[in-house]
Assembly symmetry: C2
Homo-oligomer: 424 residues x 2
């Protein structure tokens, strides 16, 4: 097959027939395939099997605390220390919560609305308008939280080294712009890591809103699957250097490390924010599940332990990403009808198809039994202005199914491109 992007009308008509026939065979095969969510596969879960027997006979009285009873709102000292070593913060800046960092993000914003943040003049529910900067493409669940609270989302493009900071610096002059979502390492979905320079520019922001909330979702902070661990700046101390200590809340969890939904999560923030938040959280809960914190500590032991575990997970993930990248390379590459990132960590492959075809591809996939993240989902209000972006999540399906899914996806990408070119 020659290059679709430079075919004549007749060539397009003929290739369309071939592609349509191939697509029809997929429909007829009637498979059920899914590359939609960044959900660890069973081949990853099994690597944490030991957790299922813990704490077992190990003492539950640890760090001077009975993990099986109420108490210690901010979590087991050893778990706080572990996350501080991962994130580069101080242990006293870390709060260990329940099983979900998404919950902590939702709750942080909820508290901004009901109680206000440390430097808020009033709760956000009393404001006429709250706007957030949303780096795009981004994590659909971040955007869903904004929509749920009626926060107006302003998209800012993710460049190769992080958000377009010229635009960000412009936007934060508006006092109603109260916050910003960032996934600084292996961003969801592009897999792009912010450069140190960009991180420093973010830490140095001088927003008009005194209670500006930098939501730093470090979901993939140690999630390399290709190559060695890549160090990153501690956003807390960077913000502090610029007099912005209280501007940022950082989030992390073991959801993509041990068991999704049954791991442990944390937020990290300045000591002043910690004191402020603990006062409110102490009305919400007596203490989080410290037995699960203990379970994870017995499993990981320390930072070395968790990094060794990440290597094992990476070895499972790498071949899956290779399947996706090789398929795109071989099937789509020669046709110049799409671009994609080649991530070395995180959970996604971000694909930019010919403008105006993403929704059509999504529809074609669905028609043949392949579930992919809906086109546009990675943009606020589901609105991808170019109708070009698709997010591929390779982690969950077994390799064989992933190969099938990619064959089908590539067929749909080509078919949609041909349809588009013929219609022009």
């Amino acid at each position: 097959m020659s290059n679709i992007s430079s075919m004549s009308h007749d060539e397009l008509l003929s290739i369309k027939k071939e592609l349509q026939a191939e697509y029809d065979r997929f429909v007829k095969a009637g498979k059920k395939l899914d590359i939609s969510r960044g959900k660890p596969g069973n081949d990853q879960l099994i690597l944490s099997k030991e957790l299922l027997n813990l704490p077992g006979d190990a003492p539950t009285f640890v760090d001077g605390v009975e993990a099986a009873n109420y108490g210690v709102l901010e979590g087991l000292p050893s778990a706080r220390k572990l996350f501080s070593e991962i994130l580069g913060t101080k242990p006293e800046q870390v709060f260990i919560g329940g099983s979900s960092s998404l919950s902590m993000m939702f709750d942080t914003i909820s508290k901004a609305f009901t109680h206000g943040l440390l430097h808020s003049e009033k709760p956000w529910s009393k404001l006429d308008k709250v706007k957030f900067i949303c780096v795009v493409p981004g994590y659909d669940r971040h955007f869903a939280i904004c929509e749920s609270f009626g926060i107006e989302m302003i998209p800012v493009l993710l460049l190769d080294d992080g958000p377009d900071m010229n635009m960000v610096y412009e936007l934060i002059k508006d006092e109603s712009v109260r916050g910003m979502w960032c996934v600084p390492k292996y961003s969801n979905p592009d897999g792009v890591s912010y450069s140190d320079e960009t991180v420093r520019k973010i830490a140095a922001m001088k927003p008009a809103a005194k209670d500006f909330l930098l939501m730093w979702d470090n979901a993939y902070c140690i999630h390399e699957f290709d190559g060695e661990f890549v160090p990153f700046l501690d956003i807390l101390s960077e913000c502090e250097k610029h007099g912005n200590a209280d501007m940022v809340f950082e989030f992390a969890s073991t959801s993509k490390i041990t068991f999704p939904g049954a791991g442990i999560s944390c937020f990290a923030c300045s000591e002043a924010n910690m004191a402020y938040m603990k006062k409110i959280i102490s009305k919400q809960i007596i203490s989080y599940d410290k037995l699960n914190q203990l379970r994870h500590m017995l499993f990981f032991k320390n930072r070395e332990g968790i990094m060794a575990h990440m290597k094992k997970l990476g070895a499972v993930l790498k071949p899956k990403f290779d399947v996706v990248l090789n398929a795109l390379n071989e099937e789509i590459g020669p046709h110049h009808i799409a671009n994609w990132y080649k991530p070395k960590g995180g959970y996604f492959v971000s694909l930019y198809t010919m403008a105006g075809t993403a929704k059509r591809i999504s529809e074609l996939c669905k028609g043949a039994g392949l579930v992919i993240t809906p086109a546009g989902a990675t943009y606020p209000y589901g609105n991808d202005p170019n109708d070009s972006h698709l997010r591929i999540a390779p982690s969950y399906p077994p390799i064989d199914e992933l190969k099938e899914a990619m064959k089908l996806l590539c067929c749909c990408i080509k078919l949609a491109a041909v349809e588009k070119l013929l219609a022009e």
Copy 2:
């Protein structure tokens, strides 16, 4: 010692000397004692030890769901079924959450403020005033949630068969009265269970507020320590019978059954409320910790299993309540200077001392190393109008320490009464 309440001035002076000397010996002994919080003791925790090895080698794929991965927001079907059997609701009315029912209560009220409830015209944050009926004495953490959200609390007296419903019926004519806290069985702190008649009166309320929120904290629903399980009405179907299906949220947890802070919790509500809440909660979390739900299901197996476990816990608690009640009976009974309830379940003994002495007793206890719940804590804003109520939590200390604590407490009760009588 004769009866303090009928002593002459001289007799009081002489007994005061004796009591002061006894008190001074306690101070000198310098013990650290605590009967302040309804926290299970180690002798209870050990009965759930088996949980620490679970799920072990048992399959984590149960009820058609992989418990170790994301999914099923409302919880494992088997866990929903178990709680529905305990509460008398339908399984589809039960949502299994994380480790804390307090968190679910806080969150329900928080969502009323940020999003509004199913029948709210607008979120409560847009209202000038939100008031709640607080049955008194009650649970300090309920009141703390109200204070945190700026909800005005209106105390309503708990009678021997439940809240004073004449007063409640009067108060709900005010549209700004938006909710009510109830602990219907073995109430915290009195240990009083609402009569069926009172429960039906509550279910039949016609509040002016269309989005009235009945917070039904069934924390001690199966927590008998003396005698057989006492059945209770299902508040959901009672409300439904009176056209109030969407008025109530019921809460329960295993915090006082297995491990406090590391158990599982639930709310139960109408199907319409469930659909409404799930829509919001789906933005807050992907799914709760289903492995811990599985762990609890493997441990309990079914309703019979949990009821048998409650018998074991009761056998540990009963002697502790006996220590408290016997001490009060022997040391305080003859003096007619206090009254108390004799609960058959729950976690507390509620003590009504001579009016105007509770704070003084609290102070005396503190001075001699005994931590008790601060006087007034069981009333909104910490304001016990009679300065008479004290809450005793017998569960946590070992029997010997509890005996010591009760000796000291009884000495303080008498000393404060004598001081008061002398000052009159």
